[in-house]
């Protein structure tokens, strides 16, 4: 759904741009290609890494880790799993929902969802290439730390 909207916006913008100025549109497409080609190598690294990781850490394994552990250790485990995996939301939310239905803790699930979205260990090399080592590592460690606070807060609100 959101991808369709993205395409509509991109095509509309491209068409508007082409009507106003052909040369500028061509320059924009050239820049788009250059930016893409510049990061393609890193993209491929991420793709291979994720494919290997998800083969070893498949959804069944993730469910086991998130479902069985509880307490503080469980929250830490859930955050770690979220940090190193790369799963789109539309796959992650149903997994999280079924785990909750099976009795997994809300706090653990919230920790997993939060760090999954904000922390990207496999995409770190890419992030470093754009923003530098310091800020990329800073952003990810802060996001990891916050995923705990977020988890406790969500767990508390849901328990009210």
């Amino acid at each position: 759904m959101d991808t369709i909207i993205l395409y509509i916006v991109a095509v509309a913008a491209l068409a508007a741009s082409a009507i106003v100025s052909r040369t500028k549109t061509l320059a924009a497409l050239k820049k788009a290609w250059k930016a893409f080609e510049g990061i393609l190598g890193q993209f491929l690294v991420v793709l291979f890494l994720v494919a290997m990781l998800m083969a070893v850490l498949d959804t069944a394994t993730i469910s086991n880790i998130l479902g069985e552990q509880s307490g503080l250790l469980g929250i830490l485990g859930a955050s770690l799993v979220g940090a190193i995996t790369l799963i789109p939301g539309f796959v992650a939310f149903p997994i999280a929902a079924s785990l909750l239905a099976q009795g997994a803790g809300v706090t653990q699930i919230a920790a997993f969802v939060s760090s999954l979205m904000m922390v990207g260990v496999v995409t770190l090399p890419m992030e470093i290439q754009y923003f530098g080592k310091r800020s990329a590592i800073m952003r990810n460690s802060l996001a990891f730390f916050f995923s705990f606070l977020i988890a406790f807060f969500v767990g508390w609100v849901v328990s009210l």
Binding site: A28, A35, F36, M54, G89, M117, T123, G132
Partner: protein, 175 residues
């Protein structure tokens, strides 16, 4: 050519590791292959419009305008624009990096760019609707509320760790 090859060295190496893994562990072959194809599909589907928009943004929005809307002095309004821009985006977070880099290069403040990244990662609107239906209103809305707080904190802290050199390097890196 040599330079091009060096840029892909890591990818080629990782590809070989991938091949080695599925040769040594045939059990992983199917899952790894499926995952690779799935990821490739996402990349092929989501990235073209993102990069086209990035190119158009780079060509059409002048630096002065970017500074006025998202630059240092843009205050709360700038942060709000950055937040909405990220929330209406689509695609995985790594799609946001090149886009954020162009914003930064054009003069958006580090704080606003980090707000944009934070919003892209956690407060995307279509995902929120999906989260509500999967995990419940209370879970999704409380996460949204605390996430906004976290995003602002992270942006403030990352801003302090950002070097002038990083922006200068970005400007030479992106033509």
């Amino acid at each position: 050519m040599k330079k091009g090859l060096r840029r892909y060295a890591a990818a080629i190496l990782m590809g070989m590791v991938f091949l080695a893994l599925i040769i040594i562990f045939p059990d992983y072959r199917e899952k790894a292959g499926k995952s690779l194809l799935g990821q490739l599909g996402t990349v092929a589907l989501v990235l073209p419009p993102i990069f086209i928009l990035l190119g158009l943004l780079d060509v059409w929005v002048p630096r002065e305008k970017m500074i006025r809307i998202l630059g240092e002095g843009s205050s709360v309004k700038g942060a709000l624009v950055a937040f909405l821009l990220g929330s209406f985006a689509a695609g995985p977070l790594y799609g946001a990096f090149p886009f954020a880099a162009v914003l930064l290069k054009k003069g958006a403040s580090v704080f606003n760019v980090m707000i944009f990244l934070g919003a892209w990662s956690t407060t995307k609107l279509p995902m929120l609707l999906f989260e509500i239906s999967a995990l419940g209103l209370r879970f999704a809305l409380s996460r949204l509320a605390i996430d906004i707080v976290a995003i602002v904190f992270i942006a403030l802290l990352v801003k302090r760790s950002f070097h002038e050199d990083d922006i200068r390097r970005l400007q030479t890196q992106i033509p």
